[in-house]
């Protein structure tokens, strides 16, 4: 692998159209090929927004104001829309949150796995179907031919999540964005799915951006992480360093607020008001600094 990170985001700023409220504040991020990077934060912190900005699926009310998103060195923001779309389609994939709504209920599973290969990458159909079959075996789903012919409602939630993982790896993407892929699942199923994602990621050497609110999950699947507050990265660190000693007070508070049954009195601690005030002040100071520069 090269030294250069596969995904490189620099100074990415996104805001609401109209009011101009900032949603992402100068986000810098680098994910080397084959490595898993976690994005953590509470709801509204902008962690999903980063993935959406890369994939080009931001809500219409949101615009990217400044910054660059480089995939393999090419800045996506400078590409014309149609080219950006096919490039993103060829190089990346998404594992969505809710397996129950992420498959089209009126289409069979087969085409939903192969359509990208045929339509975007120009494979011939037979080869794409072979590939789909092979992937279904890889995610440990028995009887791939039956599944390819099935409709989503004929399969269980766990099966559907496996299919979505298979579909994500179908085109050998270089980067996968996993957006809370196990939040909707029971903890025992979550474990199986997380292990499967890890295995697949390692085998295919894919870079991964793993969006989650659960620091426990991060400690199990990621090599590095960024903690977000109000669209700003307050800390980026390697996982070993972070869980031994988080650098930022907000990160520390977030870690102390996380549930940990092994330590009933040292976990689920409310974030102290001073910490909230401090991190808010930091964001405000950042905004003022930007305003002063402009």
């Amino acid at each position: 692998m090269t030294d250069r990170p596969f995904l490189e985001i620099s100074q990415l700023t996104a805001r609401l159209k109209g009011s101009g409220t900032p949603l992402l504040r100068s986000v810098d991020l680098a994910v080397p090929a084959g490595s898993v990077h976690g994005l953590v934060g509470e709801s509204g912190a902008g962690k999903s927004m980063i993935g959406k900005a890369i994939l080009g699926i931001l809500p219409r009310s949101v615009e990217v104001a400044t910054g660059a998103i480089r995939l393999d060195g090419t800045d996506l923001q400078s590409l014309p829309p149609a080219e950006r779309r096919t490039r993103v389609g060829a190089l990346t994939a998404l594992i969505p949150q809710d397996p129950l709504t992420a498959l089209n209920p009126s289409r069979r599973i087969g085409p939903q796995i192969t359509d990208r290969l045929v339509d975007i990458l120009g494979w011939d159909r037979a080869r794409a179907v072979d590939r789909a079959r092979q992937l279904l075996a890889e995610v440990q789903l028995p009887d791939p031919d039956r599944i390819l012919r099935s409709y989503p409602h004929e399969l269980s939630g766990g099966q559907r999540q496996r299919i979505l993982i298979a579909a994500a790896f179908a085109a050998e993407p270089r980067l996968i964005i996993a957006d809370e892929p196990t939040t909707a699942l029971d903890v025992t199923v979550q474990k199986q799915i997380l292990r499967l994602i890890r295995e697949m990621q390692e085998r295919h050497g894919t870079a991964m951006l793993f969006v989650t609110h659960d620091l426990g999950v991060v400690s199990k699947v990621c090599q590095s992480l960024s903690v977000l507050y109000a669209g700003k990265i307050v800390e980026s660190a390697r996982v070993e360093d972070f869980f031994r000693a988080p650098a930022h007070t907000y990160s520390r508070a977030l870690l102390a607020a996380s549930p940990r049954y092994t330590d009933p009195h040292g976990s689920l601690m409310p974030v102290p008001d001073e910490v909230m005030q401090a991190v808010r002040a930091e964001v405000a100071a950042f905004d003022e600094g930007r305003a002063a520069h402009v």
Binding site: R85, P96, Q97, D119
Partner: protein, 336 residues
């Protein structure tokens, strides 16, 4: 199995509904104060004449007795004889029904095309001024009923800019070589496009009057449904695969968006057929509804009963058909 059971239950409730309609219309119209028999006879007819005629039409029996006789007749395909027209009710109804079906069918086709176009355009251009204009326009269009659209069209295309005929189904002087009453369909099949043009010209305004509110409703419902579908994860997923907006709307969203609107559109279509009654009157179009109003005004009880039952049958059949379509289009039910 599941499907067969659902279908059986629907069939049963349909029969209950039809029976209810029959009971209500039968008893309601027998409270009519005017005496239909008296209207048939010349002034000065003897009491004996009246009694003879009453017996002929069965009006001398008690109302429940009359109902049983009528119902058993209906089950044998005998809807009685029209008092004013002195012909079997079934013949009269079957003679007029095709005109109404063609009118309603044309209106439905127009409404689906316009409504579908509005919904797709509004979805494709969501967030723009075009979408806002479609919303406001269809909001107004659907609050104006067919009756007013018909009158407006008479003024616009009948009087102000007289390009279309405002009354009748076909120009009376034309020779019609048709064997059925489906004039529009038969004119196409016989390749008589001269006649087709005349018939379609007569039909266009009443059909448009019926279609405009429905097209606005279809447009709104389908657009709303599309909007909800466009937010679902599988649509987002399709975008990340590299597909463009048109593909996403047409292949991923449309089919799933149509399903929930289908049942609603079925109900709206029955409303449209209900609207033919007054629109046919407005355009002197010789259909079932126009005949129905005459029948009420003339107190032609057997004819009223027959027409109402036929309408009810039509409505329930449409709802049944819509449910079947729903089941066929929905993989969840098809492979249940």
């Amino acid at each position: 199995m599941q499907l067969a059971r659902a279908f059986l239950i629907r069939l049963l409730t349909t029969l209950v509904t039809l029976f209810g309609v029959a009971v209500i219309v039968f008893f309601v119209i027998r409270v009519v104060p005017g005496n239909p028999i008296a209207m048939m006879l010349p002034p000065g007819a003897s009491d004996a004449d009246i009694a003879r005629l009453k017996a002929l039409y069965g009006f001398d029996k008690s109302i429940p007795q009359q109902f049983v006789i009528w119902l058993s007749g209906v089950l044998h395909g005998d809807f009685g004889t029209s008092i004013t027209r002195r012909q079997p009710v079934l013949d009269l109804v079957l003679n007029r029904l095709p005109a109404t079906i063609e009118l309603a069918g044309m209106a439905l086709i127009i409404a689906t095309i316009i409504g579908g176009f509005l919904a797709l355009t509004g979805t494709r251009l969501r967030g723009t001024k075009t979408e806002a204009a479609i919303d406001v326009g269809s909001g107004m269009a659907l609050s104006i009923p067919d009756f007013l659209w018909g009158l407006l069209m008479i003024l616009l295309f009948g009087v102000l800019w007289p390009v279309l005929d405002i009354s009748g189904r076909v120009t009376p002087s034309l020779q019609l070589p048709f064997t059925t009453q489906f004039y529009l369909t038969e004119s196409v099949l016989r390749l008589r496009f001269d006649l087709w043009r005349d018939i379609a010209g007569h039909m266009l305004m009443p059909a448009l009057a019926l279609a405009i509110p429905l097209s606005a409703i279809i447009g709104q419902l389908l657009k709303q449904s599309l909007k909800e579908t466009m937010h679902l994860d599988y649509v987002t997923l399709a975008r990340t695969k590299g597909y463009g907006e048109n593909h996403v709307i047409l292949r991923e969203a449309l089919r799933n968006a149509i399903l929930p609107t289908l049942t609603l559109i079925g109900v709206q279509f029955t409303f449209l057929i209900g609207g033919t009654v007054i629109v046919e009157r407005l355009f002197s179009y010789e259909g079932l509804g126009n005949m129905a109003i005459d029948a009420v005004i003339n107190r032609d009880l057997p004819l009223i009963q027959g027409i109402v039952i036929v309408f009810a049958l039509l409505f329930t059949l449409i709802n049944l058909a819509v449910d079947m379509c729903y089941a066929l289009l929905n993989p969840r039910l098809r492979h249940g």
